[in-house]
Symmetry: C2
Subunit: 244 residues, 2 copies
């Protein structure tokens, strides 16, 4: 039986991968993934591999190619996802499509998603209950996104926004902030991290009001604090509630 | 300047740590943490270390001890947290208390939290927007927890419950399910994972109605699907929305 691992590689550098993911990448002769992520792992793994990559919005083709490669008794394929394998990753789609490939066993291996790696860069932005929301409306209706923003703001979660903007989706972060501002104070502590774990990593703390005018991009993860979140020594910290 | 790393070690085995955390653990002569987690890393790291451990509810003492150990020019201390360093971890408390220790630099290193590792065991439970909620009311008022449960259910998030029950907190999961059932169908796909990445790991899929009668413990992480979550080939999968 062939095996297809779906692995979250974290931000993209070797340090951010789990020990298991690092080993699986060595063990698998075939590595599949979105071409940007393939470029991240190639320097680590070398040319002695078969790389199966596709571009953006080619997710189904990518999964199909990986599943085809994993057919055959000793096949070992690793499909890589940035961050975690489940959270906005490929694990779900692979598992659904794998029902057509009974000869392939699928194993999902988790990884550090941007809510965690970004939180650590900022300090401890996500120190308590949190909600992860993607602002991408490619696959999710905008009404669903807006409803989730309202619910998360009303529930006083720390909110972590994935895909806040892109070249074709301008103004989405501002729109999200305006919804959140209906429930939260304009001075709520917020943070933004760009290029987590990659060249050019940078972070910034700001208020929710300032975030409304912030220019994010595809490589930014945005954090909106809860009512309890503070800026402590230049870091964004959401306390668990210990009395100091 | 001394350094105090606050590191998320994932579920507790070596495989689940990031490459960076694994290396930092080797580099630091002093390892601090809750005694249960110290016991998890001791077999990996050996006796050639100074271990600084405290029991449950001794979090402030633990942080203080770790900060004291990190004073001194070449001091290198690693405070370990199960799962991630921020998410219900010690990073926030350490950063707040570190303001009294200007001679100590604090670096937070993320790890794989149970929402991700449990999701992978189940399949891809957290494939889209999700909310993480701890049911522990040790530090959080029950009204706040209940309000977040309502908000997350109404917002149709995949909900991941940490600390669903303990010996002293019986009936909390049932209570949470009853709140969620006001907004969600009783047939909503749910899952529970026990002892993630440790001996005796097991998982179960069930409906929200069945979850209401499920007996969880301190080592269980519970997942309540969104309206889109399905059971595919015995796995819990929340699709991102690709048309199959």
């Amino acid at each position: 039986m062939g095996i297809l691992y779906v692995a979250g590689i974290g931000p993209g550098n070797e340090d951010g991968m789990t020990v298991k993911v690092r080993r699986i990448l060595d063990e698998c002769p075939v590595i599949a993934g979105y071409k940007t992520y393939i470029e991240l792992v190639k320097p680590i793994l070398g040319a002695d591999k078969k790389y199966v990559d596709t571009g953006m919005r080619m997710e189904k083709e990518r999964c199909r190619m990986a599943l085809e490669e994993a057919c055959g008794d000793d096949a070992k394929v690793c499909m890589i996802c940035s961050g975690d394998a489940s959270v906005y990753g490929m694990a779900g789609l692979v598992l659904e499509m794998a029902e057509e490939y009974p000869e392939v066993r699928v194993e999902v291996i988790p990884g550090v998603t941007a809510a965690l790696s970004g939180s650590a860069v900022l300090g401890a932005a996500v120190g308590h209950d949190c909600a992860l929301i993607s602002l991408s409306d490619l696959l999710t209706p905008r009404e669903v996104i807006d409803k989730r923003l309202s619910a998360a703001a009303e529930g006083d979660f720390v909110i972590c926004l994935y895909n806040p903007e892109s070249r074709t989706r301008k103004g989405y972060l501002k729109h999200a902030c305006e919804i959140i501002l209906k429930y939260r104070d304009k001075d709520t502590v917020c943070g933004a991290v760009r290029n987590i774990g990659r060249d050019g990593e940078q972070y910034e703390l700001m208020t929710l009001e300032e975030l409304t005018g912030y220019e994010a991009d595809m490589f930014t993860t945005v954090f909106i604090g809860s009512r309890r979140t503070v800026a402590a020594g230049g870091r964004m910290v959401t306390p668990r509630g210990y009395e100091l």
